[in-house]
């Protein structure tokens, strides 16, 4: 049963990933990304990471991809990117070569031995017999509570930063003068 689930999800994940880099319209790229993220979420369920599967769907497929789509619509970058013109000659063949080399090295490392997992089983943070959400919550709010609080700070800073960066320059400010100068140079 798990084999069937794995094979179907692996096909979805890889097809979505290829779609992300192969489609020329950014909206299609974003939709392919959704496919990949859902596939990964199902693979999380198959590995008994139920909370992460839910978070994956809500945060990634729900929030992050929607944010991508908002930006695509907001900027109107629906023009298809030409995959033909190359500012740097040989960049694309070299990139494919680099990707293939990365994959080859990883596969050698993974398949060289029978079992690539070489760590010791956990002594403290084991799965236990609790449900996944409860077990994860206990670890998160005891061992990792400071890191958890710092992520709250990180998210706040990110929101403030996004607002500052995306704000239109106020009239009379230095930023607006720079904008005008840039426009004149371009025009």
């Amino acid at each position: 049963m798990e084999t069937v689930v794995f094979l179907i999800c692996a096909a979805i994940v890889l097809a979505g990933a290829v779609g992300v880099i192969a489609f020329r319209n950014p909206v299609h790229n974003a939709l392919s990304l959704v496919g990949t993220l859902f596939g990964v979420a199902v693979l999380f369920v198959a590995q008994e990471a139920h909370l992460l599967a839910a978070v994956q769907v809500i945060v990634y497929a729900g929030a992050i991809v929607i944010l991508f789509l908002f930006v695509i619509m907001l900027l109107g970058v629906d023009r298809a990117e030409s995959l033909r013109d190359e500012p740097l000659p040989f960049q694309r063949p070299l990139a494919i070569l680099a990707g293939a080399a990365t994959l080859g090295l990883l596969l050698v490392v993974l398949l060289w031995n029978d079992d690539p997992v070489t760590g010791a089983p956990a002594l403290t943070a084991g799965f236990g017999d609790k449900p996944n959400v409860e077990a994860l919550a206990r670890v998160l709010f005891s061992d990792y509570v400071f890191a958890f609080e710092i992520t709250a700070l990180l998210l706040t800073i990110a929101v403030v930063g996004a607002v500052v960066l995306a704000k239109k320059p106020t009239p009379g400010s230095d930023l607006e003068a720079e904008d005008e100068a840039a426009r004149e140079v371009k025009g």
Partner: protein
């Protein structure tokens, strides 16, 4: 046939390589960002696979933090892209080299 940890790790390696290749091939900053998300997801998959194989919840906790950092990264990154593309519509990753002054 039984699904072993190696299967998940191989899938993660393939996803990571595809994401890295896309990051190098594409020049639209938005699509490059999506490729970064692919690579993050590949790593998340290996975290969960290792965690399950070793019976360690730390793997899932790491994925949780990766998700938070990815969300913060996307928010700031997309704000930067909006700021750049508003001034120069249709800019690609190469055009951002004008920032070097």
């Amino acid at each position: 046939m039984e699904v072993t940890t190696t299967w998940y790790l191989v899938l993660g390696a393939m996803l990571f390589s595809i994401g890295g290749t896309g990051l190098l091939i594409r020049r639209n900053p938005l699509v490059m960002f999506m490729c970064v998300e692919l690579m993050l997801n590949a790593v998340n998959l290996t975290f969960v696979a290792f965690g399950r194989s070793l019976g360690d919840l730390g793997g899932q906790v790491s994925v949780f933090f990766v998700l938070v950092v990815a969300a913060a990264e996307v928010v700031v990154g997309l704000a930067l892209i909006v700021a750049v593309l508003r001034r120069r519509p249709g800019a690609t990753a190469d055009d951002i080299s004008v920032l070097k002054g």
